[in-house]
C-alpha cells in the first residue's frame, strides 16, 4: 500500500528562479568548474613534475617564450572583467536593455582575445614536438584556448537568446549571471598559466 498523504504546506508561491546557490544550474556550473580546475591543476602538476627533472627550464638552453603577446592578452582579459561585472549586475537587477547593449562588447573582447592568442602560439619559441617542456607549455596554452573558445561561443548563443522575447524570462537572467560567473573563472585560471608559460622559464 502506498501511504495516504497528509497535506502540509503549499509550495505554489515559491519562485521559479533564483540567483546564486539557490539555482540548480549554479551548482552544475560549480561542478564543471571543479572538473576543469582539477584537470588544470593536474596539468600544472605535470609541468612542475617535468621541470623538477631538469637543470635548466627551458631545457637545452632554449629561449623562453616572448612576452609581448601573452602580456597583452593578460591585460585585455583583466580589463574584460569590467563589462563582465556590469553584465552580471544588470542581470541581477533584471536590466535587460543593459544586458543587450553590453553583450556585444564582451563578445568582441572574446574575439580580440582569440586573435591575440594566435600570436601567442607564434611567440612560444618552440614546437610541441621539440621536447617535454615544449609539449607541456603547448598543452597549457591549448587547454586554455579551448576554455576561451567554448565560453566565447556560449556567450554568443546567450547573446542571441537575450535578443529574443525570452530575454525577459527570469531563468535567462540567471543564465546571464552564471555566464559572467564562468568568465571570471576563465580569466582567473589564466593567471597561473601566464606565470608558468612566460615567467617561470625566466626565473
Amino acid at each position: 500500500m502506498i501511504p495516504a498523504p497528509r497535506f502540509t504546506d503549499s509550495v505554489a508561491d515559491l519562485p521559479t528562479y533564483k540567483f546564486g546557490p539557490s539555482s540548480l544550474t549554479w551548482w552544475g556550473i560549480i561542478g564543471y568548474m571543479v572538473i576543469e580546475g582539477a584537470a588544470f591543476a593536474l596539468a600544472f602538476a605535470a609541468y612542475f613534475f617535468l621541470m623538477g627533472h631538469e637543470q635548466g627550464w627551458p631545457p637545452e638552453g632554449r629561449p623562453p617564450p616572448d612576452l609581448l603577446a601573452g602580456t597583452l592578452f593578460t591585460i585585455v582579459i583583466l580589463l574584460s572583467e569590467i563589462p563582465n561585472t556590469m553584465i552580471k549586475r544588470a542581470a541581477e537587477k533584471r536590466d535587460v536593455a543593459a544586458i543587450r547593449a553590453l553583450m556585444p562588447v564582451i563578445v568582441g573582447i572574446g574575439a580580440l582575445l582569440l586573435l591575440i592568442r594566435a600570436f601567442e602560439f607564434n611567440s612560444l619559441n618552440c614546437r610541441w614536438t621539440d621536447n617535454a617542456y615544449a609539449s607541456i607549455i603547448w598543452a597549457l596554452l591549448l587547454l586554455h584556448t579551448a576554455h576561451i573558445l567554448t565560453d566565447w561561443i556560449d556567450t554568443i548563443v546567450l547573446w542571441m537568446l537575450m535578443r529574443t522575447d525570452l530575454g525577459w524570462e527570469g531563468r535567462r537572467l540567471v543564465d546571464t549571471d552564471e555566464n559572467s560567473l564562468y568568465w571570471r573563472y576563465v580569466w582567473l585560471l589564466w593567471l597561473p598559466i601566464y606565470l608558468m608559460i612566460y615567467w617561470v622559464p625566466r626565473l
Partner: protein, 654 residues
C-alpha cells in the same frame, strides 16, 4: 523598471494566467491527479521517444542492464584466461591473445562495468530515495548514458576486429607509447577512457546536484539516507579524480598522434608521469567502486535488521574520510618504481590509515546486526558474504601496504587475489544483494528466494575456491599477466582449483540471470514496500509511476516510513500541466524554488553521436579536433536553444 510598456502588459497578462494553473493539493489528488501527472510526464512513444527519454528510471535501467552485459562479456574473458591457466604449459591461447584478454577484462570490468553500474543504480534510485520527481539535468543524464554506451561498443567492436588493446588496463608508458605499441590498439584504449570519463563526469554532476538540491523538504543532510551520502562522496571523488586519467590519456594520444614528448624519457619527458597521473585517478577509482557498495550494505542492513543503522554520524564521517584519504594513497601502486625513503613511509602510513574508517563502518554494521533482529533473506546473505570476503581482502591490503612485502609480492597472483577479494567481495556481492533488494521496486515483482539462496552459496563458495588459492600461487612467485607457467613449481593445484572455482561462479551468475528473467514473468507481485523498509523509494508504487510521487513527501526523521503515523506528510502546489520539481536548500532542505523539468529531447542522443564521431576520428587524425568539434558544438547549441520563442505564464524547458 526599464521594461517597455508592452512587456509590462504582457507580464500582467501572464500573472493572470498563472493563477489559473492547476496544482496538486487537497482539491486535486488521488486517481484524477495521477492521470493528469501521467499525461504530463509521459514521453512520446516509438523508437524516437525511446531515444529522447529523460526519465531517470529508464536511463538508470539502461545503465544497469548495459553494465551487466559488459560484466558478462568481461566474465567470459576471465573464463578463457582460467581455461588457459588450468594446466601448465598450456597452449590454448597464445601470448598475444592472452595480453588482449587481460587488458579487455580489466578495462571492461573497471570502466564499463563497475563504475557505470554503481552510477546506474544511483541514477535510478537516488531521486526516489530523496523524494523527488527527476534527477537534476535529465538531458545530461541521457547524454551520459549514450557516451558510455558508445565508448563500450567502440572498445568491443575493436576487439572483435582484432585491434583491441593489449597493454593492460593501466596502459603503462613506454609500453603504450608510440615506440612499443605501433598500430591503433593503444589509441582505442585511450579513447575508450575519454568516452567513459565524459560519461562518468556527467553522471557525477547529475548525482551531486540531485543529492544536494532536490531532496524532499525536511531531509536535512543529517537525515539523508546513507546510500545518498555514499553517492555524494563518490560524485565528488569522480569530479576530482577522473580528470586525471582523461588528461593522462589525452597526453598519451597526443604523444602517439602528433609527436608530443610527455612520456618520452629521451626528450625530457618521463614515463613515470603516466603512473602518477593514472594512479591519482586509479586509486580513488577503487573507492568510487567500493563506497556505493557500502551504501548498499547500510541500506540492506538497516532494513533486514529492522533498526536504524548504529552510529549514523560515524558511518557518514567514515564515508567522507575514506573519500579524502583515497587521494593520498596513489603512490602505493608505485612502490616498485623506486621512491625516496620518506615517500615509502608516508604512503605506507596513509595506506594503513584508510583501514580505520572502513573498519569503523564494519563495526557499525555488526553493531546494527547485534542490536537488531537480522532476517537472513538473500540481500542480507550477500551482506554477510561481503563482510567475510571484504575483511580478508582488507587484511591482505594492509599486508601489501608494507613496502618490503609489497616488493616481494608486487605483480604476483597475491595482488590478483587481493584486489578480487576487495572488488568482488567489496562491490559485487553488495551489488547482487541490492539488485535482489531493489528488483521488486524496479520491476514490480519479487525474485525467487529459493534460487537466490542457492545462488548466493554458489557464488560465495565458488569465489573462495577461485581466488583463495591465488594467494598461494602468488606466494610461490607466479607472476601476473603471463600467459602460462611451467610444470613442477607447485603451481598446478592452485591454478586448477581457481579454474574450477571460476566456472562455479560463472554458473552461479548465469543462475542469477535466469532468476532475474524468470521472476520478471513469474515472480510474486510486489507491494509498494515488500521488505518493510524505511526510506522514501518505498513510499510509491512498485514500479514507480513516471512522475515518481503524486505529492512531494516531507521528511521528519532519518527513517520516514518507520516513523510516520498512518499518513505520509506531503507538500502541495507543484504544477500538473507541465513538468515541475521542487528544489530545496542544500543543508536544511527547506523548499526554495519550483524548477521546470526539461521535456524529452533527441538532442542529447544526437550530441553524443556527434561527440562520438569526433572522439573516434581523432584516433586517426588530429584534424578531427577541428571538423569533429563543429557538429558537436551545433548539437549542443540545439540542445540548449528553446524550441519555441514564446513567453509562458511559468517557465517551460522545451
Amino acid at each position: 523598471m526599464n521594461e517597455p510598456a508592452t512587456v509590462r502588459d504582457e507580464d500582467e497578462r501572464l500573472a493572470r494566467e498563472r493563477r489559473k494553473i492547476a496544482r496538486d493539493g487537497p482539491k486535486l489528488n488521488g486517481a484524477k491527479l495521477e492521470a493528469r501527472l501521467g499525461q504530463t510526464w509521459r514521453r512520446p512513444p516509438g523508437i524516437l521517444g525511446w531515444l529522447a527519454t529523460v526519465d531517470h528510471k529508464e536511463i538508470g535501467r539502461r545503465y544497469i542492464i548495459t553494465a551487466l552485459l559488459f560484466l558478462a562479456a568481461g566474465g567470459v574473458l576471465a573464463l578463457l584466461m582460467r581455461l588457459q591457466l588450468a594446466r601448465p604449459d598450456n597452449n590454448l591461447i597464445g601470448a598475444q591473445r592472452y595480453n588482449e584478454l587481460f587488458t579487455m577484462h580489466g578495462s571492461t570490468m573497471m570502466f564499463l562495468f563497475a563504475v557505470p553500474v554503481m552510477e546506474g543504480v544511483a541514477v535510478y534510485i537516488i531521486p526516489l530515495m530523496v523524494g523527488t520527481r527527476s534527477t537534476a539535468f535529465p538531458r545530461l543524464n541521457a547524454f551520459s548514458y549514450y557516451m558510455y554506451l558508445f565508448g563500450g561498443l567502440m572498445l568491443w567492436i575493436a576487439f572483435a576486429l582484432n585491434i583491441g588493446p593489449d597493454i593492460g588496463w593501466f596502459a603503462y608508458t613506454p609500453l603504450s607509447g608510440p615506440q612499443f605499441s605501433p598500430g591503433k590498439r593503444a589509441d582505442i584504449w585511450a579513447q575508450m577512457i575519454t568516452f567513459t570519463e565524459v560519461a562518468a563526469l556527467a553522471a557525477a554532476v547529475v548525482l551531486f546536484c540531485t543529492i544536494l538540491k532536490t531532496r524532499a523538504p525536511g531531509m536535512t543532510l543529517a537525515r539523508m539516507p546513507l546510500f545518498a551520502w555514499a553517492m555524494l562522496v563518490v560524485a565528488v571523488m569522480i569530479i576530482f579524480s577522473m580528470p586525471s586519467v582523461a588528461l593522462a590519456s589525452s597526453m598519451l594520444i597526443s604523444d602517439r598522434l602528433v609527436g608530443t614528448q610527455f612520456y618520452n624519457s629521451f626528450e625530457h619527458g618521463d614515463a613515470l608521469l603516466w603512473q602518477h597521473l593514472f594512479w591519482f585517478f586509479g586509486h580513488p577509482e577503487v573507492y568510487i567502486i567500493f563506497l556505493p557498495a557500502t551504501g548498499f550494505v547500510s541500506v540492506i542492513t538497516e532494513t533486514f535488521c529492522r533498526r536504524p543503522i548504529f552510529a549514523y554520524p560515524i558511518v557518514v564521517l567514515s564515508l567522507v574520510s575514506t573519500g579524502i584519504l583515497a587521494f593520498g594513497l596513489w603512490v602505493h601502486h608505485m612502490f616498485a618504481t623506486g621512491l625516496p625513503r620518506v615517500g615509502y613511509s608516508f604512503y605506507t602510513a596513509a595506506s594503513m590509515t584508510v583501514a580505520i574508517p572502513t573498519a569503523l563502518q564494519i563495526f557499525c554494521w555488526l553493531a546494527t546486526m547485534w542490536d537488531g533482529r537480522p532476517r537472513l533473506a538473500v540481500p542480507m546473505l550477500y551482506v554477510i558474504g561481503f563482510i567475510v570476503t571484504f575483511v580478508i581482502g582488507g587484511l591482505t591490503g594492509v599486508i601489501i601496504a608494507s613496502v618490503p612485502l609489497d616488493l616481494e609480492l608486487h605483480d604476483t597472483y597475491f595482488i590478483v587475489a587481493h584486489f578480487h577479494y576487495v572488488l568482488i567481495g567489496g562491490a559485487v556481492f553488495p551489488l547482487l544483494g541490492i539488485i535482489t533488494y531493489w528488483y521488486p521496486k524496479i520491476t514490480g515483482r519479487m525474485m525467487s528466494e529459493r534460487l537466490g539462496k542457492i545462488d548466493f552459496w554458489m557464488i560465495f563458495l565458488g569465489f573462495q575456491l577461485a581466488f583463495f588459492p591465488m594467494h598461494f600461487a602468488g606466494l610461490l612467485g607466479m607472476p601476473r599477466r603471463v600467459y602460462t607457467y611451467p610444470a613442477g613449481l607447485g603451481l598446478e593445484l592452485p591454478n586448477l582449483l581457481s579454474t574450477i572455482g571460476a566456472f562455479v561462479v560463472a554458473s552461479a551468475v548465469l543462475l542469477f540471470v535466469v532468476n532475474g528473467i524468470v521472476s520478471l514473468y513469474r515472480g510474486a507481485v510486489a507491494t509498494a514496500n515488500p521488505w518493510g523498509a524505511a526510506s522514501l523509494e518505498w513510499a510509491t508504487s512498485s514500479p514507480p509511476p513516471v512522475y515518481n510521487f503524486a505529492h512531494i513527501p516531507v521528511v521528519e526523521s532519518r527513517t520516514p516510513l518507520w516513523d510516520m503515523v498512518g499518513e505520509l506528510p506531503v507538500v502541495t502546489g507543484l504544477r500538473v500541466d507541465d513538468k515541475e520539481m521542487l528544489l530545496t536548500t542544500v543543508v536544511a532542505a527547506t523548499p526554495d524554488v519550483r524548477e521546470p523539468v526539461p521535456e524529452p529531447s533527441l538532442w542529447p542522443f544526437i550530441a553524443s553521436v556527434a561527440v562520438g564521431i569526433f572522439f573516434i576520428s581523432s584516433i586517426f587524425s588530429p584534424w578531427a579536433v577541428v571538423f569533429g568539434a563543429i557538429p558537436s558544438a551545433i548539437a549542443l547549441i540545439a540542445w540548449f536553444w528553446p524550441k519555441e520563442i514564446k513567453r509562458h505564464p511559468e517557465p517551460v524547458i522545451s
